[in-house]
């Protein structure tokens, strides 16, 4: 069943979407952006648990860094207040800088870890920071329909 994809281009050309797995938010620390690190059963046959958990933990760290309330955010906040927040129109906030880092990280993870396994992570910002959407692809070859059904059956 393990279909090997070598890169994202091949994923695009020969794969079809089989399933989507959603990693929900973890609200135990309040309203900060943090995702559950519980390994979903649908991915058990597709990727190693440690790789998945590392990705989610890294994303959680990035979001914690973006939302950290410390010296720099106070400075930014006070400066913004003095300029009646017009400064938000001119400069890029720390949050936006971290979001760019997150995009780059997700792209890198997709290229190196997930695409070779037929998976694709969608940046949470495109889902309103509610979920990490992982698209599961199946090889659309001669065994397309059969492997699709086997994925759905193994997904349960």
């Amino acid at each position: 069943m393990a279909t090997e994809f070598h890169n994202l281009q091949e994923l695009r050309h020969s794969a079809s979407l089989a399933n989507k797995v959603f990693i929900q938010r973890d609200y135990t620390d309040g309203t900060v952006c943090k995702f559950q690190t519980k390994f979903p059963s649908e991915l058990e046959s597709r990727i190693e648990r440690t790789l998945f958990e590392d990705t989610v933990k890294m994303l959680n760290n990035y979001y914690a860094e973006a939302e950290k309330i410390g010296g720099q955010s106070y400075l930014e906040g006070c400066l913004a207040c003095l300029t009646i927040y017009l400064i938000f129109l001119c400069i890029e906030t720390r949050y936006e800088k971290v979001l760019k880092k997150i995009s780059r990280y997700i792209q890198e993870q997709n290229e190196k870890v997930y695409a070779p396994r037929g998976l694709l992570i969608t940046d949470p910002i495109e889902r309103g920071m509610r979920v990490i959407e992982i698209s599961v692809y199946e090889d659309r070859g001669s065994s397309g329909s059969s492997s699709g059904s086997s994925t759905t059956s193994s997904g349960r």
């Binding site: 979407l17 309330i69 906040g77 006070c78 009646i84 927040y85 938000f88 309103g128 659309r140």
Partner: protein, 448 residues
Amino acid sequence: MKNREYQQIDPQALATPTPTPPPRPLPEHKPRRARRRWEVFPGKNRFYCDGRMIVARQSGVLPLTLGLILLTSGLFFIFDCPFLVKHLTSCIPAIGGVLFVFVIISLLQTSFTDPGILPRATPEEAADIEKQIDNPTGSSSSYRPPPRTKEVVINQQVVKLKYCFTCKIFRPPRTSHCSLCDNCVERFDHHCPWVGNCVGKRNYRFFYTFIVSLSFLTAFIFGCVTTHLALRSQGGNGLVFALQASPASALELVVCFFSVWSILGLSGFHTYLVATNLTTNEDIKGSWSGKSGNEDVGNPYSYNSIIKNCCSVLCGPMPPSLIDRRGFVPSDDSVQTSPVEIELPAAKNDINMCTQGTKGLLETASRSPLLTSSCPQAKPQAVLEPLPEIVPEPPKTPHKHHSHHRSKAKQSTHHTPKTSNSSPRPHHSHSSRRKDSKNRDPKFSSLR
């Protein structure tokens, strides 16, 4: 079956080798203009400047607020300032000017900023949540309550997350659905008709700046006008003569006198909310006030330090906008440009290429028949139908929500008379809202 349907499209997709983000070059030479996301936004909002500014559909009394502020300040600068500059100091118009600028800019920012609207769930997400509700995975509570709620423990407090039937998500903590705007808003405070927008996570600091600077401005104008009239009526002329000499001051006096109490009261109330890290919604509902004699209930979001609470609410990092307003709507509703307001550079476009991947290819495939066909209406349907997963039917969503809108329209028409009836004087509604909090409960409880 799904795989076979994708195979129908893929051969065409292979003909287009370059998977650049599709909608960008298209609007120039296709017969139908590519629409921006704000044009198909499901909530009840209005957009200006091609999606750069967002406001509630009912502008409420925002024009009245602006008009009153501009009128009173204008009269002050024209009629009172010359006299006061001559007799007192020229700092007065300077201070007044600074306060006026603060008030207007923070008002416009409050009105036109996205308050923290949560985008609605994609169909796949909604289906996944439905599956979890029917088969609880054990992350929810031990028993299955009939209404759709999920319990989470935050800071040793049990918090119930409600399911929003309109947005098809479990609302994050402190998020509430505004029936007037038909959106779930993060850290929902209240829907302010004076400002014509919801007050939530992203624009609370603008709102707070607005009411604080407005209370300073009204108090300042009130003081200056009183001084002006007092100085004029000195020398044995009397107050009547002073009022006759400067009739505009009478109007300013009346407006400021009635405004200053309510605005000052509102500022005080919100200062208390900021210091305790509460929202108006939570305060009115009494979520953490220990109702039913439960002593252990406390605000789980508070840092238990006034300074830290103030700093986190007012000086915390500015969260990005989660709704994508200016991205283009492809034939399906898949991932698009970044929702943050400042355009990201090539890194984001790379993400588009990578994460869109197959979807992007499928979009180009669906578009190319549109370009070449003579009847564009027939083709999209033929293309859209085989893609039940990727296409969440943007044309259908308005219809789906029509029933919601109809039922909510009744509620919203119910509400607007209430707000207008409760405000005999323009600025009194806030204080009356606070005082009559018990009467207001039905209104706020309807703000699911």
